[in-house]
Amino acid sequence: MTFPASAADDRVATPGKAPLSPDVAAIELRHIEKRFGPTIANRDVSITIRRGAVTGIIGENGAGKSTLMSILYGFYQADAGEILVGGQPLDIRTTHDAIAAGIGMVHQHFVLVDTFTVLENIMLGREGGRLLRRGKAAARRELLRLEAEYGLGIDPDALVGDLPVGAQQRVEILKALYRGAEILILDEPTGVLTPQETDQLFRILATLRARGTTIILITHKLREVMAITDEVYVMRGGAIVAHRPTKETNSQELAELMVGRKVRLKLEKKPATPGAVQLEAKNLGLKDERGVACLSNINLTLRAGEIVGIAGVSGNGQSELLEVLAGIRAPSSGGFVVRDRNITPETACDPALMRELGVAHIPEDRHRLGLVTRFSAAESAMLGYQHEAGYRKGWLLDNRAIKASCDRLMEQFDVRPRIADLRSANFSGGNQQKLIIARELARHPKVLLVGQPTRGVDIGAIEFIHSQLIAHRDAGCAILVVSVELDEVMSLADRILVICGGRITGEVSAADADERELGLMMANARRGDDDAVPGMADTNMPDLKQSQATI
């Protein structure tokens, strides 16, 4: 998904493009159809993107919005229908065609070379000749012009790897603008940003809109749609189910349109009744292979019957914290006590032992840790519990029992499709997550470690997952939730710890939590330091690059 280098691509501006009157739609998609084998990904999709406006396209995973944008950006070709750019029918066969037509895309996963400077990244694929010197000078001039016009606040000579995530995203935007993009597609742009960085992005988008750039925002976050878009299209099952001016709709209506039924956006729960301490970390520290501290001096207490949330920008040690507590990595200093068992740097780390102690772990990275994508659902549904007697008949595995157990889990947690033999990879993200949660909750754990419980999960499933977690809390389970979604932490947790740079930088009870204050703590700025530019505190964010790769 990189911008491929090509000689045919050397023009910065596209010659021969007619000047456009403002009332002509920037993009019009007419009756787009796309089919993958028997699956219809896009069904008779017709949308009109108004010039100089921000248009939101929302829908659950699998609703077909990514496919639609891939068609527009030249990754796929539609089976039927036509694309009009600036009123002219256009055959977009490759991404080059899309770029030439003034369409730019900012991907969810950035496509930047970490060891290159901003300037070098932006030139990549458009070096402008055999020797770099002249091309570089020209690129720098253009970049300074763009900077003056849009004020993105990016130093052309900074190494991309040193930039915080929010700034890297702006480099992506800059790259698209440099390529002459007048229409910008942003695919889930806020997933990796702090609330402050999100605000900053929205300010930039507002500037871009004011300068006439057309923006298409693909997202599933309703708050963002309400905050920034001018109009919104809702997709469900491959088709457009609604088109609304943003002013005339609200989150509740959009959520219902997306899911196709009534949903509760607000989580209802009783106050927690914390019981005995189940897990206690004391001065826990962790160094990575290079000896860099990922966690230092972590102290936390987890009691039965409460949910403790960890808020933080991803890459600040929360993944490592979960891995240490789950027994996957050994602490380097300090330790923790889980249900009267002391874990120190000297004790061998052993996830199997933690499971025996009644610790269940719903990992952040479900594709790499939570299940084996090439295993059948039934096989993935016993991952971690493969030695349990219930799965055995003598020395051999009892495949019938394994399948029956998977069927039960699928039934209880409404995993669809209910086919135990289907490869784990062929389930949607939400259903994979439900299967993992079903597996981990089935053993009625005393301690539950949850990483990103609803990342990439549809609204309908989020509702279900949250209510399950609350139900287990009420049944006396001690739950630790790590999430980059601040909303989620705030609505699920009874207490919130903020982590930044591998340290706990604050604790608030969920009742008093306010988003702005949490955001500042996540960027390690104290109350009153409102001038500090969050997200620029890059020295406090180790492993930022690494975390992006896994998001």
Partner: protein, 376 residues
């Protein structure tokens, strides 16, 4: 691009594509035969009838097949754990040493019923031990198993030359080999067994070790797909992180997997030394260890596939020998060329024909009314 999203039926994956690949390999080999001025159809006919046209041909074919099954299983077994054991050649060689040493020590003193399990265990033990050092280095030191097992092939070769020439060859012998073992210690030939029940068959090296090979297939199938340890092994092979998450002891998995893999390769020694040669000689492995890689590749790392691929390689070995005898212009090297082409087409170019099938099925499916209407 759309064709990439077609899910092919299982039979295409496990039968049609491999067969097409083999067919293409033969097609290219035919062009080469044509280029050296021979008739490819004629050559194919000689090859097939040489391998399958007579009792003698079939016997030789199945004898070769036995060896390929052992080494193919060895490669496939390790491969399921994501480990590429290239050292089958050396492990098979050492397995033969194990058999030879047991027979040298006990062939006159112990009955066959005791010797047989003893020799099988010795071959497996020696094969396993020969991979233990590379396995340890992989598990605890991160030295890549491909490099170390290749090096251990050379070590095995040097060690065997030293042992056979300097230690085990009796004084006054004219060639480097141990003494002949007691005939009573030999695994019965199939033609002897059939002869005993009144069925005549030409004398061939095929012996009852082939039953051991089939038993090994069943073992591998049971272990990999029907035991918790096989489950852990495959989980480790697909995703090391998921295996760690699941509490799998990864270092132990590497050691155990490679030792079983080495033990499977070591079983070649039973077929060769106890079944055919009846003495320990040099170079009896004759490349079976390396061919095992191709067999596993071709057999999709599944025991059933490996039996079929071994049969194909057995046919090639026997038919190729026959071919070079009938048409001297086509040397035995031609067999190696065909094997190489099969490896090329079913290994390196395994995805060459896949898009053709995908396009074909996309075309067929589009003509049918679409059943499902889910999003992408």
């Amino acid at each position: 691009m759309s064709s990439k999203n077609v899910t092919l039926p299982r039979w295409v994956d496990i039968a049609a594509i491999p067969l097409t690949n083999v067919f293409l390999a033969f097609l290219v080999a035919g062009v080469i035969v044509l280029a050296i001025g021979e008739n490819p159809l004629n050559a194919t006919q000689i090859l097939v009838s040489g391998a399958l046209g007579s009792g003698e041909g079939i016997g030789y074919t199945l004898y070769y097949t036995t060896n390929y099954i052992f080494t193919g299983l060895a490669v496939a077994f390790a491969f399921h754990a994501g480990l590429f054991n290239i050292g089958g050649e050396g492990q098979a060689y050492l397995g033969g040493l194990g058999v030879g040493l047991v027979l040298l020590a006990f062939d006159h003193s112990l009955p066959f019923a005791v010797l047989l399990p003893l020799c099988i265990l010795a071959s497996m033990l020696f094969g396993a031990l020969w991979v233990l050092i590379p396995a340890y280095l992989q598990a605890y030191r991160g030295s890549h198993i491909v490099i170390t097992t290749i090096m251990f092939n050379f070590l095995a070769s040097a060690l065997m030359v030293y042992l056979v020439v300097n230690v085990l060859t009796p004084v006054g012998a004219t060639e480097p080999a141990t003494r002949d073992f007691d005939p009573a210690s030999a695994i019965p030939f199939v033609h002897e067994v059939l002869g005993a029940v009144g069925i005549q068959m030409d004398s061939t090296p095929l012996n009852l070790s082939i039953l051991l090979a089939l038993a090994a297939c069943v073992f591998v199938w049971l272990y990999l797909w029907h035991t918790p340890w096989g489950y852990e092994l495959r989980a480790f092979g697909h995703s090391e992180k998921a295996a760690v998450y699941a509490g799998v002891k990864t270092k132990r998995i590497i050691l155990v997997t490679l030792c079983i893999s080495g033990a499977l390769a070591g079983l070649v020694g039973v077929n060769e030394i106890m079944g055919v040669q009846h003495r320990l000689i040099l170079n009896f492995t004759a490349g079976y260890g390396f061919a095992g890689i191709a067999v596993a590749l071709m057999g999709r790392n599944h025991p059933v596939g490996i039996v079929l691929a071994s049969l194909l390689f057995g046919i090639l070995s026997q038919g190729g020998a026959e071919l070079s005898f009938e048409i001297p212009a086509i040397t035995r090297d031609m067999t190696t060329v065909i094997q190489g082409l099969i490896i090329l087409f079913s290994g390196a170019l395994v995805h060459l024909t896949r898009p053709w099938f995908e396009r074909l099925f996309a075309f067929l499916l589009q003509r049918r009314p679409a059943a499902a209407t889910q999003g992408a």
